[in-house]
């Protein structure tokens, strides 16, 4: 269907809905992966803590 055929009000609703959905997905991802390694991101490995450049140990939740 040509996008011009969609009434403006419906198109706006669709755009808002997609944006909201993306935001919700990000929120869900963060909620279910609170311990995802923030710095550095090493492939898809998750850790509760990582070693910084000084050799200190940082909690990933605090850093993220």
């Amino acid at each position: 269907m040509n996008s011009r055929a969609i009434p403006l009000a419906r198109r706006e609703r669709a755009v808002v809905s997609a944006t909201e959905m993306r935001a919700q997905l990000v929120a869900v991802e963060e909620a279910v992966q609170p311990r995802k390694l923030m710095a550095p991101r090493l492939l898809d490995i998750y850790a509760a803590a990582f070693v910084d450049r000084d050799g200190g140990i940082e909690d990933a939740r605090a850093a993220g």
Binding site: R35, Y46, A49, V51, I57
Partner: protein, 325 residues
């Protein structure tokens, strides 16, 4: 995707070149279904503390579970002794006899077998003296925090040069961040150590960055730090129960002494709690095996016999040390 245990801190290079190299190495190892080489260090030792059992059990768990998260399970675990390196850097101020090497390696290897580590264990001692060129020294940039930590170590151990020792942690015969030319090196290494090894990991990566700038070959490395292991087992405190205390001591007394050693109310160190708890469990579950290991660790000669007669792979430098005992 399964993650690492909460008790483990992940150490990876933060450099913009070394980190992608490590990631590429892990992907390559996964594609080939090849496990990494795992390395653990032991320091010079005169008497073996029972706490090595708790450390070994925590390390076994990390090898079997966390190292396998990165790629396939490791086929070989390499144990090295830093005793000759420290002795050489201290100019003979430390215990230089092969006994210090043999006692440390026998305690760790025996404890790992006792807690059920089944894979091939290769034992070797570090090269005495410097392996990393002194020309590289001025190009190695430690952070201020790391320099301060090393300066404090210098005060605690004035006989050994702390900065040189930290740099040598990256050497081929220790944690092996710098590749040994002409050798068949693994795709990547996983190094496991107690909490102080986090500082040394940062030092190793600073050395690796400097070596990379000079075009020297490297082996990508990941560090897995046992957060609950706050003091290296090979630096026992005077109140810790040792293997040679076991003779004539009941199981109840041993368990009580292990508990006291981690209790600040009884003059112990709370930093030992996690390892002591594991040690108590092992002593309670397998008292005969613990006593048998204790007999092997009664002295350097019996420890050397134990290493020779067990199923360990012995490196050429360690062979020489064993021959001297």
């Amino acid at each position: 995707m399964r993650g690492l245990q909460d008790s483990v801190a992940l150490a990876v290079p933060l450099d913009s070149v070394l980190r992608p190299s490590l990631e590429a190495a892990i992907l390559k190892a996964r594609a080939r279904r090849q496990g990494p080489e795992v390395r653990l260090g032991a320091g010079p030792l005169a008497r073996a503390p029972l706490r090595v059992l708790g450390f070994a059990d925590l390390a076994r768990e990390v090898v079997e579970r966390d190292a396998a998260v990165l790629a396939s399970p490791p086929r070989q675990v390499v144990l090295f002794s830093s005793a000759p390196k420290l002795a050489a850097l201290a100019g003979g101020g430390w215990e230089t006899s092969p006994a210090a090497t043999v006692m440390g390696l026998a305690a760790l290897a025996g404890a790992l077998r006792l807690v059920g580590m089944r894979c091939d264990l290769k034992l070797e001692e570090a090269v005495a003296g410097r392996e990393i060129s002194a020309e590289l020294d001025p190009t190695i940039c430690f952070t201020n925090s790391l320099e301060m930590w090393l300066a404090e170590r210098q005060i605690a151990h004035p006989e050994a040069d702390a900065r040189s020792y930290a740099i040598e942690h990256a050497s081929p015969s220790m944690f092996g961040d710098l590749a040994l030319s002409g050798e068949d090196e693994p795709i990547f290494r996983v190094t496991i150590g107690p909490r102080p090894e986090a500082r040394f990991f940062a030092a190793r990566m600073a050395v690796a960055e400097a070596a990379h700038r000079r075009g020297m070959p490297l082996v990508p490395g990941v560090g897995l730090i046992l957060r609950g292991s706050r003091r290296p087992w090979y630096q026992p405190m005077e109140f810790e129960p040792m293997f040679d205390d076991l003779a004539g001591m009941s199981l109840a007394v041993v368990t009580e002494r292990l508990r006291s050693a981690a209790s600040p109310e009884r003059g112990g160190n709370p930093g030992l709690k996690r390892e002591m708890h594991r040690t108590s469990r092992i002593v309670g579950a397998s008292p005969e095996s613990v006593m048998a290991l204790g007999q092997h660790l009664a002295g350097p000669a019996s420890a050397a016999d134990f290493l020779r007669s067990s199923d360990f792979t012995i490196g050429p430098r360690l062979e020489q040390a064993l021959a001297a005992l």
